[in-house]
Symmetry: C2
Subunit: 195 residues, 2 copies
DNA sequence: GTCTATAGGCAGATAGAC
DNA sequence: GTCTATCTGCCTATAGAC
């Protein structure tokens, strides 16, 4: 089966996304420029515009890819472990992995810049949080039904608290460059759900 | 007792800080410009540079004033209520008040932009979190000693979890423009500390 | 696909008159 | 203290050659 796109173009597109993703996760969407990405890849700014017409389209593509990868990781987690409690630990571990790379969650940092984002990017950020909430709520509901987890309120509410708790833990841990600070807060979040 | 500075200058300086503070809390530090502030106050950009030589100095002054006001509010809270549990609710209420004004915590949004901040601003952001942690840890220690609160680990660790939990709850609630979402997460954070 | 060249705008900042 | 005028630099984006 032939590739649907010329290989070189696809590779360049992915490399652009890789560099831009790292820059956004560390410096924010307004904190990086086409010039930054171009310089790092050894190409020109004009070439970037061939792959992504504008910064808004690049930003949207970043969120879509990031969200898809995150969902893939959650599916992989579903296949690997069945215990709800272990799934939650795996979920927190995904965040820890991001922070280990000195990065903030892409959608967490974009949430901070939400007011200045173009509407398509705003919608994609909210979609990311919604998808996470759905996955977490399912795990929480399962855990409650088999009595491995215990919590007040609806699974969705509890899921929202986990998401915001982990995002906040990343946000604050990063200035301190202190992974343990994140781990401590994350463990505390999940321990409240144990039976 | 005469004012140490001419009244008009002081007022202008405060009005600059007021406008800039609101802009940073909604759009971020890189999301506003001297032109924005000047236009809103009906003065010129050049006048702003008289009061604050550069954006870095303006930003630092913003954090210092914000932190001082926050600490004042905590002192007022200490004088008004004595029950540790009520103090924590009052603490979360301060965050809720900020969010009600469609704003993010100043230092929370600056934490997201941390990598791009000038060093003096970085130090001031960390100082803000540290001061909050000290206050919270004292309340938590008191609550544990009089058995009105219960938690694992050190008061400082628990304090860090509260700060990051509330910051994250604001961060995520804002794209949804949903105060209830924040309140739900905040209540869940504090309920885990009750006896 | 990638380049050179450039447009057009906005950013932070300064000089100097009043 | 505030103004006008201006500078320099970086930004996103486009035109058109190769």
């Amino acid at each position: 089966m032939p590739a649907t796109h010329p290989r070189q173009q696809v590779d360049t597109r992915q490399r652009i996304l890789d560099v831009a993703e790292r820059l956004v996760q560390s410096r924010g969407f307004k904190g990086f420029s086409y010039a930054d990405v171009a310089a790092e890849l050894g190409i020109t700014k004009a070439s970037l515009h061939y792959h992504f017409p504008g910064k808004a389209e690049l930003g949207e593509a970043l969120i879509v890819r990031y969200g898809a990868r995150f969902m893939d990781a959650l599916e992989e987690l579903d296949g690997r472990v069945s215990d709800p409690r272990a799934k939650l630990e795996g979920y927190a571990g995904l965040y820890a992995g991001v922070l280990r790379g000195k990065r903030m969650c892409l959608c967490g940092i974009l949430a901070a810049e939400y007011e200045t984002l173009p509407p398509p990017m705003r919608a994609a950020v909210v979609r990311f949080f919604d998808e996470n909430e759905v996955w977490l709520a399912r795990v929480l509901a399962q855990g409650r039904s088999d009595a491995t987890l215990s919590f007040d309120g609806s699974p969705s509410e509890a899921a929202q608290a986990i998401i915001s708790g982990l995002e906040g833990a990343m946000l604050v841990a990063r200035p301190y460059d202190d992974l343990a600070r994140f781990q401590s807060a994350a463990a505390r979040l999940l321990s409240g759900l144990s039976t």
